[in-house]
Symmetry: C2
Subunit: 313 residues, 2 copies
């Protein structure tokens, strides 16, 4: 399955495991890369030493390409970018801030630059500034989200750029991946789907909560303030939404949210923690190895695309 | 292009023009049906006489199948349903309320029942209750919206039911239609795309505003109260959002919104009226006949699906 993305990264399948703060580490990233996709270590919420250690560990686990996700709003972003440039993963994905000022530094280190962009205008801008590929992620995704959906982004961004476009948000099976490819995407990114991978280190309570959840079980906190975060409905998110609705200050809301990602992901408190998750939860049926997830998706895609001409008989 | 939907309705292409209150009338619906899709007359905001007159007019304009969209929250819904059962369009789409109590009445009149459903559970329920097909519409659509996106709905609803599924929301070109078909949809529904059809009677100021708008130019009013409506950013929507944010009562918000659909669609006030529109606005380039829009989309779909096996070489 050759696309502009498989050629750019020298990977077998155009399928990223999305970077998930506090969760996606060397073990998960390496498992996805070994399976033929490209795993991503999340730097969000971590210190530079952790990032160095995880890149080194992933290189011990596999010689396949993998990436690191950097949140550009993080206070320690410069330190983390320094470490990444020293340790040289194949690529970085760059979100939550303007990625362009960092392009030159990554290029000099030989690292491919793949920003996450929220709309058509910024897609053009990062392409013109030398991005090697870009990610568009619809608001059906888990965690920090924008306002455009996956379908709206695919419709409007893909025709505007020539660099490979990777699509994330709501894609959880081979049908979604096939849909993205026929729209002209060069690849897809799945986050939530890999939360129930065997190699994913998220707390087992989180895996159990995700397996029990359905299509209507997420909400978006922070919409009013323009910083939406999609997570499971639970005591934490309901409390946040009530406080938001009655007009509590952003400072108080931030205080309420601080530490809640870690509380769910690491401590396993799925009641008072923020369980970040996308809308497409029904396809999550069981915990299974990353390579089983990848192989099932790819075999679905192949079958669907081979059958496609039958639709226009 | 045969799908379960083309067979059910005896139409050439599995493509609906979505019902748009105050806008989609016999002229637009007939134009889309003559082009090989299926047009839909919107009953929303209208009285029963208007609906009767429009169904009769559409039957004069074409002998092809067309439908009527009924908003089940309307005060005069019973009267409108009575008229529809007398005048017998091929099908109805049913939104904004529980459609099941009306199924028997429509069945007796020989009218196909196609409810719009917001999630997987209700999709199963309408299928079990005898719906002939169903529409899923993502929150990237214009007008009244739910919370799930097109990708999340396609991923989770299509595998659950055996009746034809029609997908709307954010689809504006042949790529989007091809994507829906490869996901297993039996057809698509486009609303905003047909607002710039020559045969669409919406005010020319609305057409001009839509042609000038891009991917980030819509907002959702009424999210806080759980009744989201997607429309263009303008003086009306900005005012509504500010009032919503400062916690004004639902009664006052409703008063602010009353008459604003008509004000934009009929009077052409695109500053103080509500210009309902979906997120995928960049593909709208010019006003052109409905059959040109339909033919371009269908020819794109055919090309894409015939090329698809090349992606898995």
């Amino acid at each position: 399955m050759d696309t502009k993305l498989t050629k750019l990264l020298n990977i077998t399948y155009p399928l990223f495991q999305g970077g998930m703060a506090w969760i996606s580490d060397a073990r998960l990233a390496a498992a996805v890369s070994i399976a033929g996709g490209a795993g991503i270590i999340a730097a969000g919420g971590r210190d530079a030493n952790y990032v160095r250690e995880q890149i080194r560990l992933a290189k011990q686990l596999t010689n396949k390409p993998f990436g690191v996700n950097v949140q550009l709003m993080a206070d320690n972003k410069d330190e983390i970018i320094e470490v990444i440039c020293e340790e040289k993963p194949t690529f970085v994905t760059l979100g939550a801030g303007n990625p362009i000022p960092y392009f030159e530094k990554f290029s000099k280190a030989g690292i491919l630059k793949i920003p996450v962009v929220p709309n058509a205008k910024l897609a053009k801008r990062v392409e013109d500034s030398g991005a090697d590929a870009l990610v568009i992620e619809g608001m059906e995704a888990g965690g920090h989200i924008g306002v455009l959906t996956t379908m709206a982004l695919m419709t409007q961004v893909i025709p505007l750029v020539t660099i490979p476009v990777i699509v994330g948000g709501g894609i959880a099976d081979g049908r979604g991946m096939a849909a993205a490819l026929v729209m002209g995407a060069a690849g897809v990114q799945l986050g939530t789907r890999f939360l129930v991978a065997e190699e994913c280190g998220v707390h087992p309570h989180v895996k159990a909560a995700l397996l029990a959840a359905g299509d209507t079980d997420t909400v978006v906190t922070g919409l009013v303030g323009g910083h939406g975060v999609r997570c499971l409905k639970n005591t934490f998110s309901e409390k946040y939404l009530v406080m938001e609705r009655i007009g509590v200050s952003q400072g108080e809301l931030d205080k309420l949210a601080t530490g809640t990602n870690r509380l769910a992901a690491i401590e396993g408190d799925v009641v008072n923690g923020a369980v970040l998750a996308g809308q497409s939860l029904l396809p999550l049926k069981q915990v299974e190895p990353a390579n089983v997830i990848v192989e099932r998706i790819i075999s679905e895609v192949k079958q669907i695309l081979l059958d496609a001409p039958g639709m226009v008989k």
